[in-house]
């Protein structure tokens, strides 16, 4: 029987016949090379945007929340939309680094470092909005359980407070996870760089890592535990973000489908953002051997799956609005599709439900230009999803006499645009100074890393027979 069966060999995760040394060189050379001109241009533009954002934030704090387009009845609009959007983008990093690790998906090694960095910077952008939307930012410390002279304590019954804990924990755990992953690679940088000062800096952050197996033993355990902790955390964070809405009694917000729907949407938009950044970086830094078309295809499959989940949730919301028999809920959903925000609703449907359908076809999944275009379309769609949820429910709630229509001001727009400056300032610094692919982990998925590789016929893979 065994003569009639054959094993289909797995695709090589790393293309181009690399060995350990060439992987090290490929990645550790990037921070050592002369900074390319495009980097300075991109960094300059990011800095300008960051300055714009800071100016808008200062203006908001100086003048008050009224400089945004917020007014009765719409008290949450772009601020919370942007918050949910950025947090959602962050989720892909943890999904790739933690959940795909637990599922033993070797292909994650090419993109996890990159995606984790994106997570941290995206969560930083997200955290800005709830912090500044409180109006009196000088009393923001009231949200933390700190002893104070007024003997005030936060209300632990409030989803808004749960959100503070969830997002803060998420940022901290993501950063720790990222740093633990970086330590062996920082040691590689320490041993590779020529300059005395850079050697000292990388050396200090590498903490004296030697690569001894007595360290790797604990390291691997720590990595698995952190992945195990981050997995429920990432699912809980967007669940709790959705509680901000689901626990209220506003029609269109008060739905039990929100937690899974928000998590699927977060992964959907996060993967799109990873693709956007990855497709540019792999080209600019010549990393096509590590971030291959196979990776892009796998990510497109995840985008298709989560996109379908999101589409299912859109449909289910309508079904429950009708089936639940609650007049106001029914109205709000009909109003979303046909009312004053119909333009936003149909933008969302086109970008999130229609656009990913291209990825049913293998040729499209492996088409880099199309993937790049769709990854941007999807993130536009996901921004509109949050906008539709936040604003359309508030603008037309129970009492027709209090209905309104939200129009953003220039401060709304520039604050949002400015967060891209914050994001890309940090992201470009990351690309410039840190190894942007997990060197040690990519080596681990090379066939030569497995001792069994050497035992079968002197270096020829046993799979070939």
């Amino acid at each position: 029987m065994s003569q009639n069966t054959a094993t289909v060999p797995d695709e090589q995760l790393v293309k181009g016949n690399h060995d350990f040394a060439s992987i090290t060189k490929l990645i550790s050379d990037i921070p050592q090379q002369k900074t390319p001109l495009w980097w300075y241009i991109a960094f300059g533009v990011s800095n300008i945007l960051l300055a714009v954002m800071l100016a808008m934030v200062v203006w908001l704090i100086w003048e008050g929340i009224g400089v945004w387009g917020l007014n009765h009845p719409v008290g949450w609009a772009w601020d919370i939309t942007n918050f949910v959007w950025w947090v959602g983008i962050g989720h892909a990093g943890t999904l790739i680094s933690a959940i795909l690790f637990l599922f033993r998906q070797g292909w994650r090694t090419a993109i996890n470092r990159f995606a984790e960095a994106m997570t941290i910077f995206a969560v930083m952008c997200a955290g800005l909005f709830p912090a500044i939307h409180v109006g009196r930012i000088w009393t923001i410390y009231w949200i933390f359980p700190l002893p104070n002279s007024m003997q005030l304590w936060p209300n632990f019954n409030s989803p808004l407070l749960w959100d503070v804990f969830a997002v803060f924990t998420y940022l901290t755990v993501s950063t720790l996870f990222w740093y633990v992953g970086l330590v062996p690679d920082l040691a590689t940088m320490r041993d590779k760089v020529k300059g005395k000062i850079s050697k000292m800096i990388y050396g200090a952050f590498a903490l004296g890592w030697t690569g001894g197996n007595r360290q790797w033993q604990h390291y691997e355990k720590a990595y698995m535990i952190l992945a195990g902790l981050a997995t429920p955390l990432v699912l809980s964070v967007h669940t709790i973000v959705s509680f901000d809405f689901a626990v209220s009694i506003i029609p269109g917000w008060h739905t039990t489908i929100f937690p899974p729907y928000f998590v699927a949407g977060a992964i959907f938009s996060g993967f799109a953002m990873v693709l956007t950044l990855m497709i540019i970086s792999r080209k600019l830094y010549g990393l096509e051997d590590i971030m291959t078309v196979d990776h892009i295809e796998k990510m497109n499959i995840i985008i298709l799956v989560t996109g379908m989940m999101v589409g299912f949730a859109y449909g289910m919301e309508f079904f429950i609005a009708w089936y639940g028999g609650f007049e106001y809920e029914k109205f709000i959903f009909v109003n979303r599709a046909l009312g004053p925000y119909a333009w936003a609703y149909w933008t969302m449907i086109t970008c999130n439900v229609v656009a990913p359908q291209f990825f049913w076809v293998k040729r499209f999944r492996r088409n880099i230009a199309l993937t790049f275009a769709l990854s941007i379309v999807i993130n536009i769609g996901m921004w509109f999803e949050r906008f539709v949820i936040v604003v359309s429910s508030l603008a037309t709630d129970y009492l027709p006499s209090s209905w309104g229509y939200f129009t953003p001001t220039y401060v709304d727009v520039l604050t949002y645009v400015g967060t891209f400056g914050l994001f890309f300032t940090f992201f470009l610094l990351f690309l410039r100074f840190l190894p942007m692919v997990a060197i040690a982990e990519v080596k681990m998925v090379l066939p030569q890393a497995n001792p069994a590789y050497y035992r079968s016929q002197n270096g020829h893979s046993s799979k070939s027979e």
Partner: protein, 179 residues
């Protein structure tokens, strides 16, 4: 500076992960305890080859996680019922279902700190310098080199015999590392 030629250990280089793993098993069987293998990535099966016990990190994390859970429940119960009791739409002061999200977040937060600090505690890091870094070749251990170092602290260590032993089990390069 001093002309004290104390030896830290003998560093042997091996050609590939498989040779390193075989060598580690030989060193273990020869009765050495103070030795370690150095590689650019963790090699599967090396813990057994070296005869290492499983990592105790899990227990440290468990302890921190329990601390986070108890601390989270205590903080919320105390703040909501003793320090600042507040009537909120007729809900009980000790409203445990509402304490789940924050309690959960604190379990994860504390456990993650426990993992992070426990990892570096068990690895005996951070250190600014180690005798191992006196070696010229060890920088390859973070690139493409596979090394085994038997330390002078081991009772079975004797410089000459250990060097010969390492050559016998297939070392390609041998270096004696000063303290």
């Amino acid at each position: 500076m001093s002309i004290n030629h104390k030896t830290f250990g003998v560093l042997a280089e091996f050609a590939n992960p498989a040779d390193l793993m075989d060598a580690a098993a030989e060193v273990r069987d020869a009765g050495f305890k103070h030795f370690d293998t150095y590689s650019p990535f963790p090699i599967h099966g090396m813990d057994d080859a070296m005869g290492l016990k499983p990592s105790k990190l899990g227990w440290i994390v468990l302890g921190h996680g329990i601390l986070g859970l108890l601390g989270g429940i205590a903080l919320q119960s105390w703040a909501m019922s003793i320090a600042y009791p507040m009537h909120i739409s007729g809900k009980p002061f000790l409203n445990f279902p509402a304490f789940v999200p924050v309690g959960f977040a604190l379990v994860i937060l504390l456990a993650a700190f426990g993992t992070f600090m426990g990892l570096f505690f068990l690895c005996k890091l951070p250190r600014l310098h180690q005798p191992l870094f006196n070696s010229e070749r060890i920088v390859k251990a973070t690139d493409d080199g596979f090394f085994l170092c038997i330390e002078a602290a081991d009772p079975a260590f004797s410089e000459k015999k250990t060097v010969e032993f390492l050559k016998k089990i297939g070392a390609t390069e041998i270096e004696i590392i000063p303290e």
